[in-house]
Symmetry: C2
Subunit: 191 residues, 2 copies
């Protein structure tokens, strides 16, 4: 739980006693590639911290999947659109590779907010961080070309291209696999 506690400490001060409380609120969950943290139609009732590995968020539309987001080491995982209002989720969250999560239930997160002295502050700062990264993704969708977005993906998740199917990346970039294939060819060739 080291990296989780370190992350909490990055946001707020924790007494040694509180550290134990926090650690006790999370449970370790192992996911093999393809296993789910959240399935479409179900209500998201927990938040997770990625200790190791990678997950993707995807939606099913007209029979095929659209990957819209990735979360990797050190990031928090949750579909807040389902978790916060308690509505059935429109997206699934699935492990892309061998993944270790520290999962906290809604009830336990409430306890963290109330029992830890700076708990609410932690909640606010953590969500602010996730929020800023989603704004950046929005900006990129508005202003960057698919080619640029693919290259940014390469920088953001180095080494990942080799490990995951290209059609995950294609839909994250906002295009079809065939088009990504052509873009890659163009990049490799003339520039």
């Amino acid at each position: 739980m080291d990296s989780l506690i370190r992350t909490v400490r990055h946001f707020i001060r924790l007494s040694d006693e509180e550290e134990k409380v926090v650690a006790g609120l999370f449970t370790e969950v192992f996911l093999r590639p393809g296993e789910y943290f959240l399935e479409e139609g179900k209500i998201c009732r927990s938040v997770a911290f990625v200790e190791r590995g990678l997950v993707r968020y995807f939606m099913t539309q007209d029979g095929n999947e659209k990957t819209i987001y990735f979360s990797s080491e050190g990031e928090f995982v949750c579909n807040y659109s389902s978790y916060l209002p308690g509505k059935p989720s429109e997206v699934s969250i699935q492990a892309v590779e061998e993944t270790v999560l520290y999962v906290i239930s809604k009830d336990n997160l409430q306890r963290l907010y109330t029992d830890i002295s700076m708990g609410e502050r932690f909640g606010r700062l953590a969500i602010e961080q996730v929020f800023v990264s989603s704004i950046e993704q929005l900006r990129s969708l508005y202003t960057d070309t698919p080619t640029e977005r693919y290259q940014q993906f390469l920088e953001l998740y180095p080494g990942l291209v080799q490990r995951i199917p290209q059609y995950f990346i294609a839909s994250y970039v906002g295009i079809k696999p065939q088009s990504l294939s052509r873009i890659r060819k163009r990049i490799a060739g003339g520039g």
Copy 2:
């Protein structure tokens, strides 16, 4: 300040005394159409609540503006990508019509967090709400066509089409004004 206090009360309990404190932390700001809450390149140092009117977020790219977001009555306005890390803003926030804002400085917001008993909770809940709407916009960009997004805009901001230039809406939808004009023609015609 009624609607602001009502919104705060929607999230947390406020004593009568705290209500006065909160009201004292905000200042009323009037903006005429075209005036700015935040200009590109400057650091966003406050958060605002829209009492009346409408603002747009836009970026300048290759000489022309791209509107990426609107905030209207009852919503909080801030470029968190600038406000939170204290970096120069890449976007401007501008009044589209006659707008009344209640503005709170970063310092005063900190006071709200610390001096109001459930202040941190309010901060968390308020940003959660904004966050969920940005996720919805992301989802829409990934899965909806420009035509669908335009129709959703009509539903989301009814009556606004008549009051603001179409090229604001076009870039919000993610297309050029000429294309929106053609889409509108298609919708008006065959369906």
